[in-house]
Amino acid sequence: MAIVVKRPKLKWWEQLYIPGIISGMRVTLGHFFKIVSGRKKVTMQYPEEKWDESLPEHYRGAPALVKDEQDRERCVACQLCEFICPPRAITIKPEEIPSDDKWAKVEKRPKAFDIDMIRCIYCGLCEEVCPEQAIYLRKDYAITGTSRAEMVHDKKKLYEIGGVRVGLVNKWNELK
């Protein structure tokens, strides 16, 4: 059904267009002076001002490996994250833990653990699938580099971002 749009009948001074310009300029200049005088602030000046403290708890930033309270690397190189990673950003080279090591009973640890941050889509599936709670998505979001090689996070870098995480997984403790 066709709808007939009723056009408003304008008064003669409205047809002059000039009152319309003035009321329009009142709106735009209102915005202009509010912004210029600093009474209203909308934009954040990014590199100087950051939003980091108000990032939500569930924020999914760069994935990182964590150590537990006894300085043991939690990752046991099961490679589940490598298999589930949708863009195949994770590459793990496992190695056996030598028998004279304190944590010999864990048996396996990653020799190399690389995450290609150009590929990573921050989906969080690695965190979800990890049986040892060894990989977490942290709040780092400004991952930059000037070359492809720089964008690959190796094991050292991943532990640097991840740090220490306490709790939950206790099965490798001495007592058990």
Partner: protein, 359 residues
């Protein structure tokens, strides 16, 4: 030939055109971006230099370093000529604008012509050729259609632009822009006749046609410079970028800057004709006559006043651009031919009647 005149004229050309107007063009681009940002609750370019003031320099470097690409299918000679034909007339019109009273006994106008407004209209309308050539030489459909649109728009509004100035010329009885400003300095600005001879019934009644003229003049100026309520030549959805679709690098920049230069010169002309040019309100620091010597600091104040007025008018142009939606093309033509042409004609008659009645 008198060397003194040549040297003084060259100094004035270099200083006024290349050291003041061109930087003013660059700065008005910066102002456009900052003001539009503030109107839209954004920040705008604020990184290069203090408050982003050097953004214009960065833009200039970018334009110079970009590849200057000439497509194969264009008519090269005309294609290269067109951008210059837009920029040069805009700058040439600045020759007759009096941008100050006088400094060290030298009149602050490059060419003190006795046909000021006529010269401005004659030269400014040359920039239509730049757009025609750009549209035609590009040899592709969008620039062609954009060029046709722009040309018809500029030609239509030139008529009301010219006619809107006639009442003022009738009131001043003078075509020399310096004398027009001197008259306004002594007898009140055309739009603000509050001192001298302007402070009379005649002065007040004559502001009615002057105000009508001002509105017609300003609106036609918007159309002439292809600025927003009338920026029909550029139209993303229909015409891509209009007549400069095929241009890149510095050639595009010349179109872009030519538009702003035309806006600045248009503001200068509006200031000179309607708002008293370099003169201060209420006849303060007014020189005895157009040729009288003034102290150097008066001269500097007059130059400052002129540019303050021009900058205020440029800001007005910018705010209007970000306030009003654009016209449809038939509305634009209707406004130009059916309303402004008649209003301007009627205004000439009204001024004549008023002057005859009040004489």
């Amino acid at each position: 030939m008198d060397w003194h005149i040549i040297i003084a004229a060259s100094v004035k050309i270099v200083v006024f055109v290349f050291l003041v107007t061109l930087p003013l063009v660059a700065m008005s681009v910066w102002a456009e971006r900052r003001v539009s940002a503030a109107i839209q609750d954004r920040v705008g370019p604020n990184r290069v230099g203090p408050a982003g003031l050097l953004q214009a320099v960065a833009d200039g470097i970018k334009f110079l370093l970009k590849e200057d690409f000439t497509p194969d299918h264009v008519r090269k000679g005309y294609f290269w000529l067109a951008p210059a034909l837009v920029m040069v007339p805009a700058l040439m019109t600045s020759a007759v604008l009096p941008f100050g009273s006088s400094l060290f006994g030298e009149k602050m106008v490059i060419a003190d012509l006795d046909v000021g407004p006529l010269f401005v209209f004659a030269v400014a309308s040359l920039s239509v050729y730049g757009i025609v050539l750009a549209g035609w030489a590009s040899n592709s459909k969008y620039p062609f259609l954009g060029g046709v649109r722009s040309t018809s728009q500029m030609i239509s509004y030139e008529i009301s632009l010219g006619l809107s100035v006639v009442p003022l010329i009738m009131i001043y009885g003078e075509l020399n822009l310096s004398s027009i400003v001197q008259y306004q300095a002594e007898n009140g600005w055309a739009l603000l006749p509050l001192w001298g001879e302007g402070l009379s019934v005649k002065g007040f009644l004559l502001t009615i046609p002057v105000l009508i003229s001002f509105i017609v003049f300003m609106t036609s100026m918007f159309a002439e410079t292809n600025r927003l309520p009338f920026d029909l030549p550029e139209c993303e959805t229909e015409l891509v970028a209009g007549y400069h679709t095929e241009y890149s690098s510095m050639k595009f920049a010349l179109f872009f800057l030519g538009e702003y230069a035309a806006m600045i010169i248009g503001s200068g002309l509006a200031v000179t004709l309607f708002l008293g040019g370099w003169s201060l309100p209420f006849g303060w620091l007014t020189p005895e006559s157009a040729d009288a010597a003034v102290p150097w600091w008066h001269g500097l104040i007059h130059i400052g006043t002129f540019f303050a007025k021009v900058i205020a008018l440029i800001l007005f142009f910018i705010v209007i651009r970000w306030t009003l939606p654009r016209f449809r093309y038939d509305q634009l033509m209707r406004l130009g031919w059916v309303f402004f042409f008649e209003i301007a004609l009627f205004n000439v008659v009204l001024t004549a009647l008023l002057m005859w009645w009040l004489a």
